[in-house]
Point group: C2
């Protein structure tokens, strides 16, 4: 199996996964297809919607088609010539408690039906399981996986290692480590469905983070997480594929997806969407359709929403704006906000520091700074880190507010300052980046950011105070031409400095 990572931002990656039935570009939404009853044809999913990977259920396939399935193969059965992932009954275990099949027999069956991405028979921990029971489920899953590997043999198929443990994070780590050691090349994280139903996005985020610590580079599938609210965050945390039957289940329940969640058709006054379904029907038409037809149309609409969400997230990765996109998305639901806040502050556990690893050192586009949490984005942290180890032999520091023109050293004002203070280190500053020495004022993102001009209180910008303290400590004499924000910072930092009032200062805004 080859998983080629092409671009990254935060822990997200644009990747290419090779399977016996073609390449899959990730991140990807993976529609769930029923092996027997298909209201939306897999052909439509591939040819009209462009999905190159679907997931179906090997257990139901076995029960319904028996050995005939081995002859026909899963691609023939569901009528899909792209890549097929097969779940093996784990979800049925979660729903109905037990499954009448042995792990080795199931593995042999998935091998025989030529699944591209088969999943061993696992025992999902769900959410809310007591620790000892969850531990036992993880043990059984790992045992099943070992039995599965004995059956697998030489194969092109991409066997998936199902990581269980849910909110018991040490079990997640243990599970991921064991599966990694067994040699699985593709991991799947279970079972966020229940976490999502409880809107426990923060626990979901921490669960992903703990698994990624163990398996930072291998591709990761997130079970049942195909939802417009969860995908951008899960992608930012390094998940690559997401299956869900929700597009159909919601449609059957009269629920219409949109960028910020779902709404019942009867709650809507408008169709706030221009997908081919919504641009060719009015809300009234949709409502008055016969139920069967309406379910299909709403399910198709839901698929369009899911596809758009993935494409918007992928474009955000390419634009280097995934942080902005995830922070914006967080305002869809207060519970999503709880999860997204962890990216900036996880209680100093450092569980989310890994998002820095995929964040490019340089970006083409200016990054946007909006809120205090943006101090914690990897680009800003990295810049402050670089400044803290900046070396100079100068003994005098002169700091001047940032202007509209970048970089600082190329401004007219800088040249006047340099004439006036020939022996001083000159610097400017930004609330998110801290002190910016003139010499590196063209280093990303010092000259590649857009910052709102809004009233800021220094108490929300502790990283700025620290940056000022650390940098000023390198000098014997500090002069600061200060705006209101900087005056507060000097006070907060307990800094001895000569302060000139910005508004009185002779040198105009740079």
């Amino acid at each position: 199996m080859v998983f080629e990572i092409r671009y990254t931002d935060l822990a997200a990656r644009i990747g290419r996964l090779s399977t016996p039935h073609g390449e899959i570009e990730t991140p990807a939404f993976v529609p769930v297809v029923h092996p027997v009853r298909q209201t939306i044809s897999p052909r439509f999913l591939k040819e009209v919607m462009g999905f190159s990977l679907v997931i179906t259920n090997a257990y139901i396939t076995l029960r319904h088609y028996g050995d005939d399935a081995r002859k026909r193969g899963i691609h023939n059965i569901i009528g899909f010539d792209g890549a097929v992932m097969t779940d093996s009954g784990g979800y049925q275990v979660l729903e109905y408690g037990s499954v009448e099949v042995e792990p080795a027999a199931m593995a042999q069956f998935e091998k025989d039906i030529k699944s591209d991405i088969p999943i061993p028979l696992d025992k999902p921990t769900g959410y809310g399981l007591p620790y000892q029971q969850a531990k036992e489920y993880v043990r059984i899953t790992l045992e099943n996986c070992e039995q599965t590997l004995k059956v697998v043999g030489d194969t092109d198929a991409v066997w998936v290692g199902p990581v269980q443990g849910a909110e018991h994070f040490d079990l997640v780590e243990h599970s991921a480590k064991a599966l990694d050691r067994m040699g699985f090349q593709f991991m799947a994280l279970g079972s966020p469905v229940e976490l999502m139903e409880a809107y426990e996005f923060a626990i979901l985020a921490r669960m992903i983070a703990r698994a990624k610590k163990i398996i930072p580079t291998k591709p990761v599938h997130l079970f049942g997480a195909g939802h417009p609210l969860t995908m951008p965050l899960a992608i930012a945390l390094g998940c690559d594929t997401f299956d869900s039957a929700s597009y159909m289940l919601y449609a059957k329940d009269g629920r219409y997806m949109h960028a910020n969640g779902t709404a019942r058709l009867e709650e809507l006054t408008y169709l706030p969407c221009q997908c081919p379904i919504c641009s060719s029907h009015t809300l009234k038409e949709l409502r008055s359709m016969p139920r069967d037809q309406r379910v299909i149309e709403v399910a198709k609409h839901n698929l369009h929403v899911l596809k758009t969400e993935v494409d918007m997230t992928k474009q955000a990765i390419m634009d280097g704006r995934l942080w902005e996109y995830v922070m914006q998305k967080a305002r869809a639901h207060p519970k999503l906000m709880e999860a997204v806040q962890l990216l900036g502050n996880d209680g100093n556990r450092g569980e989310f520091n890994f998002i820095a690893d995929g964040t490019p050192l340089f970006k083409d586009k200016a990054i946007f700074f909006f809120d205090p949490i943006d101090q914690q984005r990897p680009e800003a942290k990295r810049f402050r880190q670089a400044v803290s180890s900046f070396v100079t032999i100068k003994k005098k520091l002169v700091v001047f507010p940032e202007g509209e023109v970048h970089p600082f050293y190329a401004t007219k004002g800088f040249k006047e300052l340099a004439k006036k203070f020939p022996d001083a280190q000159l610097a400017t500053y930004n609330p998110y980046l801290g002190i910016i020495p003139a010499e590196i004022s063209d280093v990303f993102p010092a000259s590649h950011n857009l910052t709102s001009r809004v009233e800021r209180r220094i108490r929300d910008y502790q990283s700025f105070v620290e940056s000022l303290q650390i940098f000023a400590a390198k000098f014997d004499e500090v002069t600061i031409v200060a705006d209101e924000f900087m005056k507060q910072a000097v006070q907060e930092a307990g800094l001895k400095a000569r302060i000139e009032d910005y508004s009185d200062h002779v040198i105009d805004r740079l």
Copy 2:
């Protein structure tokens, strides 16, 4: 002219505007149609896209068709049987400096071609004009409007009063007052194009606010503001219609609109959209089309994006979530954030207090609280106001943290407290709503909100400290079962109270 307001949220309204050629539901995007060269047919705009109002240029119509236009009428000329708004050369004035036509003659022409919503010949102030010159332009515009009204006579057409003044807000007020007095029933605000090109959304917002102070109920058009970034905010501030040629101008320039702005086709890696254009073409196909065809396809896509933006904003109004939507949208661009911040803090000028007027007293759906600025949303301010005038004869106050169950008075914990403190006023609290007396803990939005459980510092919640001070002052004795947030608040408020530690307290989380 009838303008019927059906629903409101903030200063936004869902309205119905009657014209000789049908009713227009507002807010509405109004596509600009060229009277001579039409790359996208007005028939397509109406029948496929569903736009029931377009705007075209009477000045160009006069120059090109001359008196023949009076015989044919503007609807026949452009081939549109919906409502037609006509601009009368003001934009040409802005672009080329002068127009060879007199206001009265232009008014007669617009009357003769049977424009549904004609605009008198105005002299747009644009942005950046010195005060005296802007004042002169306003004077000329008002004089033109008076001359126009002499020509109008008895009419079904909805004549528009063009409010000029731009960043000179006293001129905006003066202009709006004069036009209101003249009897114009539909106002248009000029000319945000230049403000928008400079991303001066904050000035745009203040300009709208000043005009709305004078004309709170009449429908308001915002010239040239049809852009995904500006429409939600402008709608929230009470603007009803928005014209723009940007869908076509951007398309000609290879610019593709999306929810957060625009991107050049060559900057995109994906088409993050599922409109009929984007779901039937790949990015590669779009790029390799002949230019003329590509311009049409991208222009159609741009129209779909604009329509979606208006529909999403309208649905947000119906859901009572316009505040949430505008705050989320603000994270599209730091300059938009500057403008949106004014809704919560306009430097205590009170210019934006009017957004409370349209905010319903009760909403069906729980409102979401995310950020400190949400303390300033009208529902929260209104609730704190109600609590500050809450009257009780009790002398003891007992305050207990809010739990997951609402309302407070219906919880088991409340009943235990009531037994333990029979003579005390009981209350709970929320960071955004302040103190919540038990008796009104079912009043909107005390039991109808979702608040993120994130770490909060009291310094960002000054309204909470005030609420605590005002309410506690009504009592001789105060006992507070306090979580960390409340402990900070008591200290910040300088309050004398008996504090019990929340974590030690016998009564479980309610």
